[in-house]
């Protein structure tokens, strides 16, 4: 038997978890453009030996009519690994909630085997389908074929990045808003912002149907839309008793873990009581007993802004700016707010300054004033503890007290 060229990577074919190395090897053995995956394997083995990456910095590539969606990637060892000398990425906009027909996926596979390496990520961290590895000459033909089967590009660079959403009303009883429809609607409305970078930096939008936040909107998006409700949790008392009979310790697991202490449990009568006015809608009790407890019926979303990963000035979690907004097509109120936010950011943001960092630099007060939102206590964890705050001198003089 011939000695393997990739002894280190071969180690990662062992063990129970599915192996990405086996996947690259499948493409290296069977893909029409198999030389690409073959050289990817060899270059990766080289990285495993050298303990360093072998991709060059940047390189601008693209397709006609778009300012983003394709990311240039060149090997720094092109003579040694010609199959990955040009190994560019397509970001392809996923359907809402990552639902597919097998027919659609097969069409996608056919296009990608024809033009690229046959390797993908299902999906990238932002939500796109990632097609890994196409040479420059294949970019336009590949996009033309993608367009033919109805797949458009996602975002890259300083634009609205491909928004994403949770499974929502497609399969989840917690969904307080139609995440799938809202996502599609926003994506279609802002195609220009998605495809032509013109902002100070990236702008991410993520939509979760409830405060469980399955798409990590709060930590990961500049504009986070989280489904919620305003009225009372709906209780099915018989189903509560059924959970109690089937082994949930309602006192310990539900009532004692409620962060607001708004619940009480009468073990004798198997009665759960909720003081809904004191509930903060954290989802814990509903998560534990979905058959017995359901979100209320007056539904909408909490709008939060500013979330981001560390680059440049540190990670931020999104902050509440609108505690409750109705979310029904055509979503006019939300879009008007979004456009005001983008306008303020575009006007004031420095290059590579995310929305949260700009709010930090200029102050939440400036932001709220610019987008026309009134201050409410739901916006803060606690009020300020320092005496350094602003007044408008004109206002002070005018009022005289």
């Amino acid at each position: 038997m011939a000695e393997s060229e990739t002894p280190k990577l071969d180690e990662l074919e062992k063990g129970p978890w599915p192996s990405f190395v086996s996947e690259i090897k499948r493409a290296a053995e069977n893909a029409p453009n198999k030389h690409m995956a073959q050289d990817l394997l060899r270059q990766l083995e080289r990285s495993y030996n050298d303990k360093i990456g072998h991709w060059k910095h940047g390189g601008i590539v693209g397709v006609k009519g778009y300012g983003g969606g394709v990311i240039g990637r060149y090997s720094d060892l092109p003579e040694e690994f010609p199959g990955v000398a040009e190994f560019h990425t397509f970001r392809v906009n996923q359907p809402s909630g990552w639902f597919y027909t097998t027919e659609k996926l097969r069409q996608l596979c056919e296009v990608w085997e024809k033009h690229g390496s046959g390797l993908t990520n299902m999906h990238g961290a932002t939500g796109d389908i990632i097609l890994l590895g196409a040479p420059t000459a294949e970019l336009q033909p590949c996009f033309d074929d993608l367009a033919e089967i109805g797949f458009d590009l996602g975002g890259s660079g300083s634009d609205m990045r491909t928004p994403s959403c949770c499974v929502g009303p497609g399969r989840c009883e917690y969904a307080c808003i139609d995440t799938l429809d809202l996502l599609y609607n926003i994506t279609m409305e802002y195609q220009d912002e998605l495809h032509r970078p013109m902002f100070p930096y990236k702008s991410k939008i993520k939509i979760s149907g409830c405060p469980n936040d399955c798409v990590a909107a709060v930590p990961r998006s500049d504009i986070s839309i989280i489904g919620t409700w305003r009225d009372n949790i709906r209780i099915d008392p018989d189903a509560v008793a059924e959970y109690a009979n089937n082994g949930i310790d309602i006192q310990a697991e539900v009532v004692d873990m409620c962060p607001t202490g708004c619940m009480s449990w009468d073990a004798e009568t198997k009665t759960l009581t909720i003081d809904n006015a004191e509930c903060n809608r954290c989802m814990h009790c509903i998560n534990l007993m979905p058959k017995a407890l359901r979100p209320g019926v007056e539904r909408g979303a909490t709008i939060m802004v500013g979330g981001k990963a560390p680059i440049v000035h540190g990670a931020l979690l999104s902050w509440v700016i609108v505690p409750f907004m109705k979310m029904e097509p055509p979503y006019t109120e939300f879009k008007e707010l979004l456009e005001k936010i983008w306008e303020w950011w575009d006007e004031n943001g420095k290059m590579r300054e995310r929305l949260g960092e700009l709010i930090n630099r200029l102050g939440m007060r400036s932001f709220l004033k610019a987008v026309g939102l009134p201050p409410v206590p739901q916006m803060v964890k606690v009020p300020r503890a320092n005496p350094y705050y602003f007044w408008d001198p004109e206002e002070v003089r005018k009022n005289g007290h």
């Binding site: 599915p18 495993y48 990456g53 797949f151 009303p169 936040d213 990670a315």
Partner: protein, 353 residues
């Protein structure tokens, strides 16, 4: 033919299985049947079974076509993916669930990742396809999940456990709110290539990109210089300028962060906190990383109360106790000295030994 643009993604309603179309927004409740299998019941009484399969995220078209064959056989030609790279088979016929599970087992797919388990780690590209990584991504995830496999396929944990990996501080995987985050880090300042800086970089933009103000103009060389004492190796300058590479086989490695969460259940979302500032890149299986992650998860599993996420457990027992129970040494790097540092210092004499 002129290329059409801006037509958007496939319309989601065309991608939904009939049972979802029919019961859209009318789901009533769900049950966790067993690890990896969910049952959703609609107001109409219709049932939808979900079988969740772990994927390696990096998959070939052959894998996609294989899972399409399975979806054609058991799910009328529909499937979906999750936000954590899992694949989900949606089965409307209860009688097909067990045959599907047997089929998946026979073909070597892994079913799990629901309920009180370790779900599929969100991760980035690493050495496979990125120009700024400090480590590989898929390789560590594979090695870690081989080690944690029993926690993916079974319910042995007190609560959810979300593991995520990003191969540099850019955090394409935005791992910063995970129960366990594995983060690639550099430990040496950029090595300036003045010719490249002169040829390819906008000097003011590079200076502005530094979060610690460590970069200054170098008029003599028409280039830049770095105050190495202030550099925190974030790599932002390299993102802006190819003349400032900081990847280094000796300097690069992996850090471990714990206790973050995303959902608002019980407690608000939290950042993960640094507990191990550096572990070496030791491919192909990163044994130091896998054993560190396993130790933390098993210590939590042993001591936490039911439904208590990693961060909630640590907040209850205190960080001083966390370091004692895990045996992880406390080092200077764990004390914050960036922008919000004072918020992390203890200002009470009430603590534990």
């Amino acid at each position: 033919m002129a290329t059409r643009t801006d037509f958007g993604p496939p319309y989601y309603k065309d991608m939904l299985p009939p049972v979802v179309q029919k019961n859209y927004g009318q789901w009533k409740y769900h049950e966790r049947i067993k690890p990896g299998v969910l049952k959703h019941v609609a107001e109409s009484g219709d049932e939808l079974y979900t079988v969740r399969v772990g994927s390696p995220r990096l998959v070939s078209t052959f894998w996609i076509k294989d899972v399409c064959d399975i979806a054609d056989e058991f799910c009328d030609g529909y499937l979906r993916f999750t936000s954590r790279h899992n694949l989900e088979f949606l089965v409307s016929d209860k009688d097909k669930v067990e045959p599907l599970l047997e089929h998946l087992k026979a073909k070597g797919y892994v079913v799990g990742g629901t309920g009180h388990s370790v779900s599929n780690p969100v991760h980035t590209q690493g050495w496979i396809h990125c120009h700024t990584p400090a480590t590989d991504a898929s390789g560590i995830v594979k090695a870690v999940m081989d080690e944690l496999f029993e926690y993916f396929v079974d319910w042995k944990l007190p609560a959810y456990c979300r593991v995520a990996l990003a191969c540099c501080l850019n955090m394409c995987g935005a791992v910063h709110c995970s129960d366990i985050a594995i983060l690639g880090i550099h430990r040496l300042p950029p090595v300036i290539d003045h010719d490249t800086v002169r040829a390819k970089c906008e000097i003011p933009n590079v200076i502005a990109a530094c979060p610690t103000g460590a970069i200054r103009p170098d008029p003599k060389n028409k280039s830049l210089k770095v105050n190495e004492e202030r550099c925190m190796y974030c790599g932002n300058c390299y993102t802006m300028c190819p003349g400032m590479p900081l990847a280094d086989p000796q300097g690069d490695g992996v850090s471990i962060w714990v206790g973050g969460k995303i959902s608002s259940a019980r407690t608000p979302p939290k950042f993960s906190r640094l507990v191990i500032p550096y572990l070496p890149n030791n491919p192909p299986r990163w044994p130091e990383v896998t054993s560190a992650v396993k130790n933390i998860i098993e210590t939590w599993a042993k001591h936490a109360r039911k439904h208590e996420r990693m961060g909630e457990w640590i907040e209850r027992i205190g960080w001083e106790r966390f370091f004692e129970l895990t045996g992880i040494p406390f080092t200077m790097q764990l004390i914050d000295d960036f922008t919000l540092a004072p918020e992390t210092y203890r200002s009470t004499p009430a603590f534990k030994w």
